[in-house]
């Protein structure tokens, strides 16, 4: 099979999203905030719509600002419901994101026809359009697919942030109480991480959809967690698995003529299942065997 320019563009963009998601997803999983990530992925919808209403453009910086704001509001609302209204954690998450998503859908239907943004795009996303939307400078030079630039920037920014704040992120994730005792501000890093998740979500929105971005955030990290005991390897492995899922998903989608994003999630699920069953250390089959020997 010959890879065309379009194939390479889509694969590159998809992989960059997968890597950004894997970086953040590893932390979300270990901080037991996978569902908060899921909530943010949905709750940024009204942020995008409001950003559009206020600015009248679909330009990326405005959308990203709108989504990031909503992401932080979501994080804050979940905590406020727990602390001030004394609502249990799972209900706080569920209440917040469904409310914000419903508001987003209502705003969308008020705008019906005025904006090329609808529920379909929220739920599915469409990677196949990546090569079509190219970035052209004012002088007319074609620079290449816009999404590729955006996702590459996002990945580099996230990688930089995580490299710089690696130590406080690690320590607030592993042992928040100890982190406080040596004077690390865990609240700041919590919001930093959630802010990154919202930005990543909105960038991924149009490409893979709100729900499948959750698959990219969590599934590779979860799979890697069954394969390694080192945090660094976990992140590298999660990035690798994300790449495999994107490539596998893309070819599966092409083969059966189905949604690319959905296929990526499906392959992610298959990879997890394989690790769940066959991981040398933590796989179900080998665990069973080991216990059998002990008995």
């Amino acid at each position: 099979m010959q890879l065309t320019y379009e194939d390479i563009t889509i694969l590159a963009t998809g992989s960059l999203i997968a890597w950004s998601c894997a970086l953040l997803g590893s932390f979300l999983m270990l901080r037991r905030m996978a569902l908060a990530g899921d909530a943010i992925a949905h709750a940024v919808l009204p942020g995008i719509v409001i950003a559009f209403l206020l600015s009248g453009t679909r330009s990326s910086p405005v959308m990203i600002a709108g989504a990031a704001t909503l992401g932080l509001i979501t994080t804050f609302a979940i905590e406020t419901l727990q602390k001030k209204a004394r609502l249990q954690a799972d209900a706080s998450i569920g209440l917040t994101f469904t409310f914000l998503f419903a508001v987003g859908v209502i705003l969308l239907s008020m705008l019906a026809g005025k904006v090329d943004l609808d529920q379909d795009c929220v739920l599915y996303g469409e990677l196949s359009y990546v090569p079509l939307d190219v970035w052209i400078t004012s002088t007319g030079t074609v620079l290449g697919p816009r999404a590729l630039f955006i996702t590459a920037t996002l990945f580099i920014v996230l990688l930089t942030i995580i490299t710089i704040t690696w130590r406080p992120l690690l320590i607030t994730t592993f042992d928040p109480v100890y982190a406080t005792s040596i004077g690390v501000n865990s609240v700041f890093y919590h919001y930093l991480l959630m802010g990154c998740v919202s930005v990543t979500t909105v960038v991924s929105f149009e490409l893979v959809g709100a729900i499948l971005v959750v698959a990219l955030l969590i599934a590779p990290a979860a799979t890697a967690y069954l394969l390694t005991d080192s945090f660094r390897n976990l992140i590298i492995l999660a990035c690798g698995l994300g790449l495999v899922a994107v490539a596998g998903g893309y070819f599966l989608a092409t083969a059966v003529d189905a949604s690319v994003a959905g296929s990526i999630a499906t392959v992610n699920g298959l990879l997890f299942m394989a690790a769940f069953l066959f991981s040398p250390r933590y796989g179900l089959l080998f665990r069973k065997k080991r216990t059998a020997i002990i008995h």
């Binding site: 569902l35 209502i106 599915y124 969590i218």
Partner: protein, 431 residues
């Protein structure tokens, strides 16, 4: 207003179907939502809602048509499977529950999308409308749907009545339920099936993403109004019914408005309102309570100053000027004046010349505060062995708090002493 009457008359059959359908769905889901909330597993509903999609598609593929029975069966199967899969992953690996839920819901949904797009492109004309499971189609509920919703509501309501006691026991203490010999696994299976049923039906009205709200939000709102499961079930159902009704009304008035999201917004607003206005645990009642306490404390601190001045001068009913009062304790003049007239209105103080003096009632109250203050200081030094120079601040706080019962208990435990650790006389009320 006319619109409302028109709507309420339910003369238009479509309005009737939509309104009753939305209410039946919301009402029956609220019942099951209460149990997921009590089990602290609210988000399992979110997972089921997403996991239903591949089942819907499989049902379609197997039957080759939009036969509702096949589709519901498929939906039910994958929905229930997801619950067990989440449990299995958590029990047999180091993956924690939140990750397992996020993983299962997104992967199942992804697989569903693959199947859906596959079906859509396969050219089967009957497929149109399958994606209504994604977004809901409350506005298009018809007579047949209403029948299905009605039967579901009856099943869920009667099962809830039948199993209420054991459901509650399992939510509260599963091991104890097992020790009593209840078939916990079987009952859990029934409960899970009912939740999946509620989701499968409800999703057709509000769609995949908002289904979680249908389960969680009415129950969360009800939690603020009642402490008994029966009460929560009842109130959650009412919140559910009302939001179903209101959502249908909004889309009747403004047909462009989506029904499902409005149902969720109405239910959420009711939940937020409950958090604020609930008399037992609402934020407003807590705020008002704090304000009342603040007044009590400030009132009593002022009365205490009158008493202390009296103790120094050995005359209890002399008028005191503002200068005398501020000389004893720091006050803001404006708020001091306001407080003085407040206490005058309440009958604790009266004007006397260019100042104020204690009334009999004021003296009794002031004396009680000073007594408790000194008794508490003594309690801290004797029972808690705290040095006499470290007890004043604590007593300053506790003096306003004690109930008459605790006051008596304090007197009794200390044996009605005469003086506090600083040798100040403890004033008892003379009968």
């Amino acid at each position: 207003m006319n619109t409302l009457f028109e709507f309420l008359s339910l003369s238009d059959p479509n309005v009737r179907y939509v309104t009753l359908g939305a209410m039946l769905l919301m009402g029956s889901s609220s019942l099951m939502g209460t149990f997921t909330l009590l089990n602290k597993k609210s988000l399992i509903g979110d997972a089921i809602a997403h996991a239903v999609l591949p089942g819907v598609c499989l049902g379609f593929i197997f039957s080759g048509s939009k036969d509702p029975l096949w589709i519901l069966a498929g939906a039910f199967f994958t929905g229930a499977f997801s619950v067990y899969l989440i449990d299995f992953i958590v029990q047999h690996s180091r993956i924690k529950e939140d990750t397992a839920i996020a993983l299962v819901l997104s992967v199942f949904f992804g697989a569903g999308i693959v199947l859906l797009t596959f079906i859509q492109k396969s050219g089967n004309a009957a497929q149109s409308g399958l994606d209504q499971f994604l977004f809901g189609r409350a506005a298009a509920i018809n007579r047949n749907d209403l029948m299905v919703f009605g039967i579901t509501a009856v099943v869920i309501a009667s099962a809830t009545l039948l199993f209420k006691r054991i459901f509650i026991l399992m939510a509260f203490d599963r091991d104890y339920a097992r020790s009593l010999g209840f078939p916990v696994k079987f009952i859990q299976f029934i409960q899970t099936s009912l939740i999946v049923l509620a989701v499968v039906i409800g999703i057709q009205a509000v769609g995949v993403v908002l289904m979680a709200a249908v389960l969680i939000t009415p129950a969360a709102a009800a939690r603020y109004w009642s402490n008994s499961v029966k009460g929560i079930l009842l109130i959650a159902t009412m919140v559910g019914l009302f939001s179903g009704f209101a959502g249908a009304f909004v889309s009747y008035v403004a047909p462009a408005m989506p029904t499902g999201p409005w149902i969720v917004v109405v239910a959420s607003v009711m939940a937020f309102a409950s958090m604020i206005f609930s008399p037992q645990s609402g934020m407003l009642s807590r705020y008002l309570h704090q304000r009342r306490l603040r007044h009590t404390v400030a009132d009593e601190n002022l009365l205490k100053v009158f008493y202390q001045l009296a103790e120094t001068d050995k005359t209890f009913f002399d008028g005191r000027t503002l200068a005398q009062l501020t000389g004893r304790r720091k006050f803001q003049i404006v708020s001091l004046k306001r407080r003085l007239s407040r206490l005058q209105r309440q009958g604790y103080l009266e004007k006397s010349g260019d100042g104020w003096k204690l009334t009999d009632a004021g003296l009794i109250r002031a004396q009680r505060i000073v007594k408790i203050h000194r008794l508490w200081e003594l309690y801290l030094t004797t029972y808690m062995k705290i040095a006499p120079d470290h007890v004043h601040e604590d007593a300053d706080t506790i003096e306003h708090l004690l109930t008459p019962e605790l006051e008596q208990e304090l007197e009794r435990q200390l044996g009605y002493p005469d003086t506090d650790p600083h040798q100040a006389e403890i004033p008892y009320r003379k009968n």
